[in-house]
Each structure stands twice: as structure tokens, then as C-alpha cells.
Symmetry: C4
Subunit: 196 residues, 4 copies
């Protein structure tokens, strides 16, 4: 078993790159004035902001969670690799959503939500594996905080799954829900206890 320093460097790298790659996908249409083209890209800006904030929230929580974890084993490393695989995949559905949001594509909204639901489920698996293996927790980990985080994971995945299903009714509804979930977590800073 090993300390978490290098795991965090690698994870931070994938988060930072996935978040930064999101912008590469935005391109102007080339039709009409530059001002018009810039304004016409609003679905891209919306998709970029929702995705960046969501990845940012996940990263902030990853940050909080890792202060409670003292050691990792190979199983934990592999779950983390699968989790990062989904993080690194997320620029793709974001681009598809940005390109097809104006036409109200339910498939694009569903693919986007499915990716983030899988991310939430996989992140939950990562956490529960650590939380139920006491030897992975830091010696000074606050066990009440550990239970609090465990309680908060199940509703997170469920809420994402429901928002994803809502895309089958309306793509716009689903996107509003995705944005709402992101904003909820940004403002609900007491999620993992005061000033986690």
C-alpha cells in the first residue's frame, strides 16, 4: 500500500486536461458577422460552463475526500482509473450536446446525462471501497464526516439518473436539470459539513 500523493497528481492532471479540452470543441460557424457568430454559440458556452462547473465540483469533492484517505491499494487504483476514464470521456458528450442542443436532440441530452450518471456511480464505488476498508482511511479521519459523505453519495447518483431519464421527455428540461444540479452543489457548500 502506498500514499496518495502521486495518485492525486495523476488525477488532477486528468481533471485539468478534460476540463481544458472542453473549449477546443467550440468553433464559429463562419456565417454572418463575427458578433453574430459569437452570440450564436450560446449553446456551446452553456454546455462548456455546465461541464466545467460539474467537473470542478467533482474535483473539489475528490479533494475533500482524499484528505480522509491515507493509503491506497491496487483495487482502489484500478477503480480510480475507470473513474478517470469517464472523466476523460466527458468532453465528447459535451461537444455532442453543444452541437445538437438547439435542435433539442434527446439522444445528445441522454448521452450527456448517462456519462455523468456513470461518473457519479463510479465515484460512489471509489468512495465506498475506501470507506468500508478502514485500513485505507487516514488515521485521523473524522468518522462522522466519513458517514456524512457516504450518506450524500446515494442521492447524488439517483438525482443524475433521474435528470438523465428526463431527457427522454425533453432535452431542454434535462439540460436545465443538469445546470440546476451543478449550481445546487456550487451554492450548497455545506454538503460535506461546514467548510469541509
Amino acid at each position: 500500500m502506498e500514499s496518495t500523493a502521486r495518485l492525486e497528481t495523476f488525477s488532477d492532471g486528468v481533471f485539468a486536461i478534460a476540463a481544458t479540452l472542453l473549449i477546443l470543441e467550440i468553433t464559429l460557424s463562419g456565417e454572418g458577422s463575427v458578433a453574430h457568430q459569437l452570440l450564436a454559440e450560446w449553446p456551446s458556452y452553456a454546455a462548456y460552463a455546465i461541464s466545467f462547473l460539474t467537473l470542478g465540483i467533482v474535483w473539489v469533492n475528490h479533494h475533500t475526500v482524499f484528505t480522509l484517505i491515507g493509503r491506497v491499494d491496487r483495487t482502489f487504483l484500478f477503480i480510480n482509473v475507470v473513474f478517470l476514464m469517464i472523466i476523460a470521456f466527458s468532453p465528447f458528450p459535451t461537444r455532442v450536446l453543444a452541437e445538437h442542443l438547439r435542435e433539442g436532440s434527446k439522444a445528445a441530452a441522454f448521452a450527456y446525462g448517462l456519462t455523468y450518471t456513470l461518473m457519479a456511480v463510479c465515484y460512489g464505488a471509489l468512495w465506498f471501497y475506501a470507506a468500508t476498508n478502514r485500513r485505507l482511511l487516514a488515521a485521523d479521519a473524522d468518522l462522522r464526516m466519513v458517514s456524512g459523505i457516504s450518506r450524500s453519495f446515494a442521492p447524488g447518483s439517483l438525482v443524475y439518473a433521474l435528470a438523465t431519464l428526463s431527457s427522454l421527455i425533453s432535452a431542454d428540461l434535462a439540460v436545465v436539470l443538469y445546470a440546476g444540479i451543478a449550481l445546487f452543489y456550487v451554492f450548497e457548500s455545506s454538503l460535506f459539513g461546514r467548510d469541509g
Copy 2:
């Protein structure tokens, strides 16, 4: 509350990637000799250099500022995520400016300046949140340096906002001002006190 080590790794990653992605946007037109095509890309080189230097300056200051900050809380982390969202967004207006600088597009110059003004405002918010929350400052932070940095933030945002507004008169004027601001900060190395 937690130490700043991992926050700095993640931030450095976003800075490094955003700065490096800038080059991906430059492509030759394919018309005329290679030498001619290489020379014709001067607006791209100018936009690349201004953006890279500006990001470099912001990174150097971020570096100086973080030596004064000892701990972060969740609110600080979220302001930083929004700040990084703007940093990661900056390759997009840079590319738009490079593509439309020769035709003197005011919209492209305005979008570029607006992005950097928002970056300055958001960076100021990050700093003032830390500077007015003593418990976030490092125990050995020099309070005179803290006040000095606080005084330097307001004019920075204002100067960027004015340069942005100048784009409504002339795109070329605005670009000269953006370059001038970047060069001013490069040479004004005593900004935050001698050898900050």
C-alpha cells in the same frame, strides 16, 4: 480547511494546458509558398504571444499570492474553479481574435478583452476573499504585502475594462492596449514589492 498544495497542482495544470493549447489553433492557409504562408500568420503569432504572456503574468502573480495563503475553504475552492473556468476558456477568444484581427473585427477584440476583464475581476474576488478572511492567510504572511496586493487589484481590472471598451472604437487600438498591459506587467517586476 486544507493546505493549498493540491489546489496549486490543479491550477498549474489548467494554466499550463490553456497556455499550451493556444498553439493548436494556428494553421497555415495552404495558399502560396510555405515562406509566404508562415509570414502571413503574424496575427496568430501576435495573439499567441499576448495571450501566453498574459497567462504567464497571471500565473506568476498567482504563485506570489499563494505564498501568502496558508489554508483554503470550500468557498475559496469554488471561486478558484470559476476563475480557472475563465482561464481555460481563454484559448477560444484568442483564436477568434487571431482569425479576425486582419479584418479589424471589433467584436473579436471586444470578446477577447471581455474574457480577460472577467478573469481580472474573478481573480480580484479570489484575492479579496482570502485577504479579508485572516484565517486563510499564512501565519507568517507580511500584512504590508497583503495591503499592497489589495491596492494593485482594483486598477488592474479597471485598465482591462477600459482597454476592452476601446475595442468599440478600434480593434487595432484595443490589441495594442492588450499588448501594452502585458508588457507593462512583464517589466514592472516590482509590482508586488521588490522580488516578491
Copy 3:
């Protein structure tokens, strides 16, 4: 001779970027409904998943191996640069494979396998250089673990080379073998001893 901290940061950066760039290559065809286009990209998803998992496994092992290495010299650094050159190259054959998997291109499957075989050989060279230069090993390195890792490297390269050669018979067979090798290593978590 120097410690391994900075080498690991640089290596983690290349791993994280190469793994994350894999997704940039996936684009929709633009023909048919969005749902149809998303489903039609399954060879891209398969190639992405196999490559990400393989890079993830190599990274996890790199992580384990470096806990046994205490110092590096310039020769080690250069072998590592060549190794990282192959890691950073891997998104290219992955993209070629994704684009030509449906048509069963043996050349694409061969190029993919050749890249990963060279990666395995180069990684083996890196390891054997360290394992046979005792002064590079950490003072507290478990010599039984060192021998165990040495024994596991030879079959790894051989298995990849055989899977690569199988592409000359059938591209599909080779891809199944590449996926099988990745999954074998994911589940065979006791490869380098229990919970390495």
C-alpha cells in the same frame, strides 16, 4: 543522481495527457439521427476504452515500480524519455484503429499492437536497467518483489508481440486479444504480489 519526484510528475503528466487526448479523436459522422450516429461510433468507444485501460494499467505499474526506485541517473532519464515518447505516440494508432476497425484493417490492428509491444519492451528496458543497478533501488526495496517484477516483464512483452502478429490473420482477433490482455491485468491485481 537525483530523487524521482520530478520524474514522476513529468511522467504522470504525459500519461494523463496521452490518455485524455484519446477522446479528441472521436467525431460523429453527421449522417443519420444523433442517436444512430452515437451508436455507430462503437469502434471508437472500444478503442478508447482498451487504450485508456492499457495506459491506466501501465501507469499503475509505473506507480508500483517507482516505489522501489530511490534514485535515477541520466541513462535512466533518457530511457524514460523514449518510453514516454511511445506513450505519447499511442493516441495516433488508437485513432487509426478506431477509424478502420469496422472494415477489419489488418494494417491498423498491426500498427496498434506494434506500438504497445514497443511500449512493453521499452518499459522492460527501463525496469531491468534499474533492477540491475542496485544503487538506483530504494534502500528499503523488497528484493523478492524486485525479482517478482523482473519475472513478470518478459511474458508481458511476448504476449503483446504474439497478439500483434495475430493481426496478420485477423484484425478482429487481434483486437479481442488486446482487450483480453487489458482485462486480464485489471483483474489480475495480484500480479506484483498482494496489494502491491
Copy 4:
């Protein structure tokens, strides 16, 4: 003045990203069989390998040099930002060279060499600024090694400048020289003293 830890993280990030982005530029022509297309890209592979090895060598030396530097000031940080600006620019001339190597474009070979010459000059400036400011050197820096590195910088820049000028005679000659310089440094591992 501050320690070099964060500077190294940021620098490593730029090196890692610039090196990894090199591969994004390679694309198949789409004409002929996949095997034929893969083989026809040899100028891209050559340009990729020369650039990656060169960046790798610069990184290894950066690594060695920083073990001798104990502290940095703002001037040093800004020289480093300009140096990294050239590192991050290098994927562009690499791509141009790869695209125009077969037609023997002197302009492409010159632009490539000019970039690497500027990189060498800027890296020299970074080193001499530190070497002539004793307070930046680590307390335990070996002054004989410092003088040795100083002596090796001047010929490095000169050799690159001459190779660049040779491109005006023949692009192929220049590329052979660029490759030769990279290989010379790879094998001349005693450059900065034995096992620096």
C-alpha cells in the same frame, strides 16, 4: 524569493503537454490502403521523434539545472515564462516541417530551426541569470558543475544556429543536422559531468 517546487510543476506541465500535443498533428491522407497511408507518414514520424527527443533532452537538462538552483525571483520567473512560450510554440513548426518535408521546403526547415535556436538562447539566458546571481543558487551547489554547465551553453546555441542556417542550402541537410544534434545529446550523457 521562493522555492522552485511550483515552478517545476508548471514547467513540467508545459513540457509534457507540448511533447504530447505533437502527435495530434499527424493524420492519414485517406488515399490508398491503410498500410500504404501508415508508411507514407514517415516524415511525420521523423519530425515527431526529433521534436520529442529534443524536448526530452531540454527537459532532462532543465531537471539537472534546477537541482543547482535554490530560489527564484520574479525576473527568473518571467524569463522562464518566455522560455516556456517557445517550448509551447514548438508543436507548430514541427507540424509545418512534417507537412512540407517531402517537398524539401527550406522555409519549413528554417522556421523549425529558428524556433529551437531561440529556445536554446532563451534557456541560456535563464541559466546565466541564475548562475551569475549567487543568491539564486542552492547553498550546496557544486560550483565546478555550475561553470561546466555555463561552458556548455554557448556551443549549444551556436550549433543550433548553424544547423538552422544550413536549411537555406538544403532542407534535408538541416533535418539530418537537427536529428544528429538530438542523438548526440542523447548519447553524450556525460555532458554535465558523469551521471549529473
